[in-house]
Symmetry: C2
């Protein structure tokens, strides 16, 4: 993208038409400011992929213009891509104290903490990059220390909300700065970027206070151990668990690496108050009477290797869920995780535990961190933007958010429903969506970043559904014919034992096929391979309805 | 299982601790009666599996005792296993007229219709098998002609509810026979088997009448084409669509094989009334003005190959969704299908369609066919059983259903939460769960039934996540050493192009490994293979964090 004089440009490298890998950018002439750099977890169709991060090639090509990465809050879908970003771009990272704590954990893991330039900000900070200055406002979400921000540009003010809800009685002092929001709105907002996660949900988000009351009640009723699973980063909920444990005179054990790490960061940095001596090691659990024990663990999304899942199947060394124990799932399943979560609930019921669970807020043990329609309308009302880009959501959420904006008075045609990579340019007060920059998914598989692409995935899909058949042909170089009978090896296809007949027939067919290749083509091993693939493929499909990958290998001797 | 004198035995071969593949059995001495024979669709972990049916080996071993298969209704999870059952056991199948229509479609597809013994029953039928007689009662569900049944045995009466809800204003004349239910309860029920699908949901199931009103409203508001997707077998909902089309003077096209087939069965057999000339061929859609067209299609579960999905991506030949068209999803997503459904909704929004959707009954376009807690309590209250076995549900549902039963007076300890294969024996009025018969999953993959097992699936999983690397070693028989450099072929692992260096190093390592195998072991190709697998496996894991399947192939020359 060449320099666009007097032009303010807004685009996303991730977060539009998806939930995850949020990464937004604001460019004014030669200064690019990045907001967030998240990851996304793959769905089942992306076989074997560990992580998805934004394609950052546009930023790499414009390295010298990228001034800063500003982070709204510490959730994975906002910080998970940072290590990969910093390996490619040497840019300072600005975030609040708690968010920085989580980023540091990540950078340490990737062994790039020392060389990274991390800068702590607060909601009172002011930054300037070229002709753009940035200031901040507090918002409430499901993790401490969240920011929204205002970019003051020569074209006008651009507001990015971050992830937010309004909660007038949050668990800790995490109120949104509603007065500052009102001021910003009064000053005038050219463009609002607001998150859309719950744009489909009518009403207002229930208060976190409700959760506290339900947690207290469950702890009081429990006769034995209480095990509660939630997101480690939801520190105010963790605080409520600590408080309930204190009130019922229980010690608290932490299970799961991220729970231990995040609680440590939160305590160190003053976001979590835990009475001296309350936290015990998991080895001490069995030394205490069950009614004196509470356990806080990871795995509320049903992740198969996390603590809760292992507890539910009796595979957590040294800690056991017993009949009569109380197990609380204090988190809503993220779409796609429902089955894994219900599997755990079923296992816990099988053990005989008293399981408190439920989708959404039906159990009273969870409220969403994202504003419902009334919250979104309050933000829109406070901001009264001229232009609106709904962000952080899938298409239907963006569309519903557009309708909400129009309902509070944003003019039809002034909302831009765009894709990752689409650029909205604003010049002389007029916004237009005309051009695109490169955007997309980069797959992280093992330690490889971007080394797995569509072909590899297509192969994996075929292998996963029908397996494969390797055909080894030992051919004489001089005589152009088979020296021995072909060898076949199958994996993931059918049981060898039960399919001996089938494979015998296949071997005969291979010999026949190879012998029938016209003499003139026998010089080309490629032609022989094609013939074998085709005839064996057809034969297997007609006999088994399966299409294994067929790999002919020719050995010349 | 040897003959159990004077003993009534109840067990399931499918349907307990799962949703799907329902198959229950009642045995009195030497007479076994089967209720339903369903299938289940695999989740993503069962790579490439098309279908799951109950393991029927117990029935095959006791062939001569199996008297009848009685079918409650025509949903896949109750009839989908019948073709496989009839290929193994020659047993008469009893079902109502509509259910038989759907079973016939299946048997025709499997080319075994002619030799099958199908017997039509009604809710007034009475059957006798040995010392057990069976009579029936109508229930309301989301498909026509559903039955529950009473088994009158020397030990007492056993009631099987089938799938049911109570709806006092159903769309067609599909009322439950509540008076007969009351009589049965008055006579005395020894054991109740009742379905548990919605045992977690408080309240009562809303009436199908509500859906009719919402469908009418949407049709009236629509300015262009209306496209509605629902389960083909939900004939009363189809009738509501037909009625709405009639009221708004629209012709109706049917898209999707199962929609066409089921509507045909329903019309032929008098379950669906369609005005003469209303149904048009899909080729005629574009000849009519859009406000004169309604389309009824399959794919409400987001199935990628079904009509709705293809419409949403512009891949349905000859039919196009245009901006301003109304698309209604009149079915709730079955757990696990949420993502596929929302993907379609997003695509339709992208096109610019007016999409009416929503989980559960939030859009007013869908009500469940399964009774909520109050419905289940009404059934329990009418039956007042001595013993209770909650069926048709996952563990948490069975447990919640147990609590409901206890709340209306079933004694604690008289509810049996059992697994597929667990047998409850009743003798002299006392029920005990003591023994097991064989039960489990049989996988159908392509045309193979049971030829894919855990090893094949494990291979597919490894292949799907990390791909594979084939190592071809050409070894001299006499000299026990490599004749040429090793050849490697990878699929689904990493891009060859980008990993040339890696694969070069691998080749070197293979040579080194083979050469270093101790002389004494070189006679055994197996040992060489083991060494190669191990050293290459370690090398690749440490360099890529991936564990591809490594397949060494030795060619002797």
């Amino acid at each position: 993208m060449s320099k666009q004089e007097n032009t303010l440009s807004i685009f996303a490298l991730g977060g539009l038409n998806e939930i995850g890998k949020n990464m937004y950018a604001i460019q004014y002439e030669d200064d690019i400011i990045i907001i967030d750099c998240g990851n996304k977890f793959p769905d089942e169709s992306l076989l074997g992929i560990d992580l998805i991060i934004p394609d950052m090639s546009y930023l790499q090509e414009n390295k010298e213009k990228v001034r800063a990465l500003i982070v709204t809050h510490g959730h994975e879908d906002h910080i998970g891509g940072i290590p990969f970003f910093l390996k490619k771009l040497n840019v300072p990272v600005f975030a609040t104290r708690f968010t920085l704590g989580l980023i540091e954990l990540k950078l340490r893991e990737h062994k790039i903490l020392r060389e990274s330039e991390l800068k702590e900000i607060t909601s009172a900070s002011e930054l300037t990059f070229g002709k753009v200055s940035v200031d901040f406002f507090k918002v409430t979400h499901s993790i401490p220390d969240c920011l929204g921000m205002v970019f003051r540009t020569p074209e006008g003010n651009v507001v990015h909300t971050g992830d937010f809800k309004f909660d007038y009685t949050p668990a800790k002092n995490e109120h949104a700065d509603i007065h500052k929001l009102a001021e910003i709105g009064k000053e005038g907002v050219l463009l609002l970027l607001s998150e859309s996660t719950n744009a489909e949900r009518p009403g207002a988000t229930p208060s976190e206070q409700m959760v506290g009351e339900h947690v207290d009640e469950a702890f009081m009723k429990a006769q034995q151990k209480v095990i509660l699973s939630t997101f480690a980063s939801n520190v105010s909920r963790v605080q409520q668990v600590v408080d309930a444990a204190r009130k019922t005179n229980r010690k608290l054990a932490l299970l799961g690496r991220s729970m231990v790490n995040v609680v440590e960061v939160a305590m160190e940095r003053g976001y979590l108050q835990v009475p001296e001596g309350m936290i015990i090691d998991q080895n001490q659990i069995n030394d205490l009477p069950p009614e004196r024990v509470a356990i806080l663990c990871t795995g509320s999304q049903g992740e198969p290797m996390a603590a809760l899942s292992r507890l539910s199947t009796g595979n957590f060394r040294g800690v056991e869920v017993l009949p009569g124990d109380t197990v609380i799932l204090a988190a809503g399943p993220i779409p796609g995780n429902e089955r894994n979560v219900t599997r755990i609930v079923d296992n816990l019921f099988t053990i005989g535990a008293n399981v408190i669970y439920g989708s959404g807020s039906s159990s009273g043990m969870h409220v969403s961190g994202h504003g419902y329609q009334e919250d979104l309308k309050l933000m829109l009302t406070l901001m009264k933007p001229k232009y609106f880009i709904p962000i952080h959501g899938e298409m239907r959420m963006l569309q519903k958010h557009r309708l909400l904006a129009e309902s509070i008075g944003v003019e039809e045609g002034n909302t831009f429903i765009i894709n990752n990579g689409d650029v909205v340019d604003i010049k002389s007060g007029i916004a237009r969506h005309t051009r695109k920059v490169t955007a997309g998914n980069t797959y992280v598989d093992g330690v490889g970043v971007g080394d797995v692409g569509d072909i590899v995935l297509r192969d994996r899909k075929q292998l996963s559904e029908d397996g494969m058949l390797i055909v080894v042909l030992t051919m004489s170089k001089s005589e152009k014919k088979l020296v021995t009978s072909p060898d076949t090896i199958s994996r993931g296809f059918v049981y060898m034992r039960e399919s001996e007949e089938l494979l015998k027939d296949v071997n005969k067919l291979i010999e026949k096929t190879v012998n029938e290749v016209p003499e003139s083509n026998k010089n080309e091993w490629g032609v022989i391979k094609q013939h074998v693939k085709k005839s064996i493929g057809q034969y297997l499909f007609s006999h088994t309805r399966k299409k294994p990958m067929i790999l002919p290998i020719i050995i010349e001797i």
